[in-house]
Symmetry: D2
């Protein structure tokens, strides 16, 4: 995918796709394929597989490659496929990034390591991401998700990494306006900033912090996310706010259940979900009922 | 001030006024009076004195009362005067709230205590604020400012306190969309939510988290804040964003210097500033120069 | 009190005395006097009044001075009286320190400010404490109590302040070996390090982190604290450990109740306690029962 | 290894062995073998391989198995070999634990997962560790290392897990007396508590928090660690404190450099070290010099 095409696709809504599972917890590649087909006409500007929502840290190497191959097969080559490739070591990250590039991924989303926290200095991050970007055949997106990892990629590191020709943007899931605007301020306008927070989505688009969104909730309500994105881009703030409130209401119900909740909600939409892998847990029956009700209310 | 009038005034922009000081560090009541007069025609919907920006925790009881009396004298009685009254003990908070009510304050902004952190449970907050609201002759606004105090007023406490007839709203300076929206969701629509964060100001107005703004930067750029507020309220998102960017640029320069920076910027506008009280510090000469340049750029 | 005498007294056990209150919450000066008399022969090496346990932040200026005067009257002048004097502003801290010096305090314990957290840099702390120590007629002890204030006095600041001729030591209540040993390593041997943590008391004496202890639990079990201190100083580690376990058992019961629990336990010993001031709370009846049982078990 | 023998071995000093590397960053199995042989007569009570210090999260599956096999070959079967086996998913942890058991490991040290932080509730930890302990052919040690992972295994989870017949103890590297004593208090006396903190080592042995030590610094100064352990066990507190101070002095120099510093220090002792794997970094030349000097001073 050409750079310009890629950058255009980053301005939009991208679901952080779940990795569907069978009831006994195996990766359901047919379910993944079906989901990607079902989403094809909804206005999404690309797809992320093997993100946090895709349970990448909980899958085996074989399962990961399987998911990438299915995704590339289902997603037309002119549509953006981002794959999460970050591992704890630079070496393993490079290796896996090369593999997914060979399998046709358009860009790699590289989450911060989060073991050895005191070693994760600005210098260490710059070294790590530079090595990955140097070695990667495909463009790299930085990925900072402190709510899940406890680690924040510092703005100073981002500013330096944004100069690397093979690093094209960042997914920041801090949900913190201060952090996203600091990134904005210290990176060139061509550096794509995507918010990974449903709560700070309309705000981030409205106040200029973000170019696009990569959202877990876009698994469940892709149409609402896309409509909200378009409304705010067209200056229809009131319309966008109505859609945003619907997303927030759903998000409130889901957020108590983490990825298990997202997958249950995806299933409630008739798409492929399944239980998340331990130590994550599926919602209990009562939770599933609440999620189902919220999904049905949203869809109607 | 009648309740309805008060609530209307909370939908707008309110400066968290600095307490001007003479070069030798004494409270400059004439400066305070002059500032309030200068701001009178700028479209602000009220004034906060003795907030964090007003250095309340660093002033003596006598200085505090002096500031309130000057403020009330300068602010027409049909315009909203909010006074910060929160102390570490419930008893001292009640006493001071009663005093400022007698001096004509329209509402009390009661910051969370922040000593004895482990004792500050939901129950303790509910007990504390209920006692204050019961005893206060004037409406109470909750005030949570974790960046300065390290303490967050929990949503559960806010939800319970919002039912108190004498608690009318909250100033939340977390700058966190997740927190403001959770407050929104668990309080009635009449409960006023004001963001105290310049960075999460346009976003909070656009995405519906906040009704109004109480900002330190409104000391320095009241006109820009008011214009931004009006633009977003009128649906002119693009216009609002242009103004917001100007605020952010200024904010970035000021934020390195805390309240000392705000006061230097106020002085750069030709209004009364002065050094903050130790342990706060005034910016050094280079800092003052940068601040002056940023203020002049903004004003032009 | 001469410097050498003072330093000797800091090597020992000092209770962070509660401020007794009457059932309706007023300061009980007679109770304070009675407590100090009751403790006189128990081997304590000094007394702290108006510490965190003494509820200093919750008392009025008048109540504070009353407590100091009672304490000085009851404590023989050749015995160490330390008074907590730290306020949010440098100015108020200096003023109050001078007052307590005039009332006969031997040393001032100056807690870190804890409002305006981002302003509390190493430079700010050095400026603040240097100004206080310059102005104080009596020696100053630094005081860092992150569990209650959320603020840690950084080792770098301590190292610089330890060079001030009027700063003689620190009470560190972090309970963190790493922090106390870092202080040790960056201050001269004559700089007194006192641990304010009951849990890290035997450990701190045994591994050399602390010279002495200033403990809330020494209100309740002064004899056990003193006996443990002497045992470890005399090399009887096993004996010290037996006493320490008894303290820990009591501490576990008390720690759920904060200062209200300490005061209930003091009352259970037949000394003067009373309710803490709001937002602190007294334990409920069940809590009081558990505390009583734990105290009786300890004393027998 | 029989349970009783295992428990005896946990009362002692165990090095968290580095995984030596060649200059080009490959695992140096000969170096690992040589280190284990060199340590054999020093009084260590067992060995941990593939701990945090062993860079487990940065090694490939193949490298991990290689390290285990070399370790088992070099360590006599009557001596304790613990292997770190914790992965992000329960499934991968079980699989790897089974493999190392087949390769002859005596016990598995299972670090907490640290991705999906909000999902890591007490329930999730209990479920995760119970599944691992149920499936593991060898006894399991819990492992909580918040300084490196940002995650603390809660005392409530530990208390419940301590009842599992196949969970024999915990390595806690919090360095926090409060946490270790809480674990002690809520687990049976037979549950082994090992401190992973060099700073809270003598203190933890002296005050009864810990039965044994698993230390990175025991790679560099095994003799000093063992001598300190024996001194405190024999009641020679003064002797123990002298040795502890020597360890602290070394630790201070090393701690700035993380695992890279430990490996440089191991090399300075003439044993096998090598560069750590990125994102970890080796110390620069100046750092290496300081480390060498500190090691030489210690050994003399």
């Amino acid at each position: 995918m050409e750079r310009e095409h890629l950058l255009t696709a980053l301005h939009g809504v991208i679901p952080a796709a779940v990795t569907p599972t069978t009831p006994d917890g195996e990766v359901d590649t047919e379910g993944l394929a079906a989901n990607l087909r079902a989403w094809r006409t909804l206005g999404l500007s690309g797809y992320l597989v093997l993100g946090s929502t895709g349970e990448m840290p909980l899958l085996s190497e074989f399962e990961r490659m399987m998911a990438v191959e299915v995704a590339r097969r289902e997603i037309p080559t002119d549509q953006l496929l981002i794959v999460g490739t970050g591992q704890q070591s630079t070496r393993a990250t490079i290796e896996f990034t090369r593999q997914v590039a060979e399998s046709g991924a358009d860009a790699a989303l590289v989450v911060t390591p989060n073991y050895y926290v005191p070693a994760l200095t600005v210098e260490a991050f710059v070294r790590h991401y530079t090595a990955v970007a140097d070695a990667s055949p495909i463009p790299v997106l930085l990925y900072s998700v402190p709510p899940l990892t406890g680690v924040t990629l510092p703005v100073e590191a981002i500013a330096r990494l944004a100069e690397h020709p093979n690093i094209v943007g960042i997914k920041d899931s801090s949900g913190q306006p201060r952090h996203l605007h600091a990134i904005r301020q210290h990176t060139p306008p061509s550096f794509a900033v995507l918010s990974g927070s449903a709560v700070y989505s309309l705000g981030a688009l409205a106040d200029g912090a973000a170019d696009g969104l990569i959202l877990a909730i876009a698994n469940v309500a892709p149409e609402v996310c896309v409509a909200m994105y378009r409304a705010v881009r067209e200056g229809d703030l009131e319309g966008a706010r109505v859609l945003y409130r619907r997303l927030l209401t759903l998000n409130e119900v889901l957020s108590a259940h983490g990825i298990g909740g997202i997958k249950a909600a995806v299933a409630a939409r008739g798409w492929a979900g399944g239980p998340p892998r331990s130590p994550l847990a599926a919602p209990d029956e009562e939770g599933v009922e609440r999620i189902r009700a919220a999904v049905h209310k949203l869809v109607l």
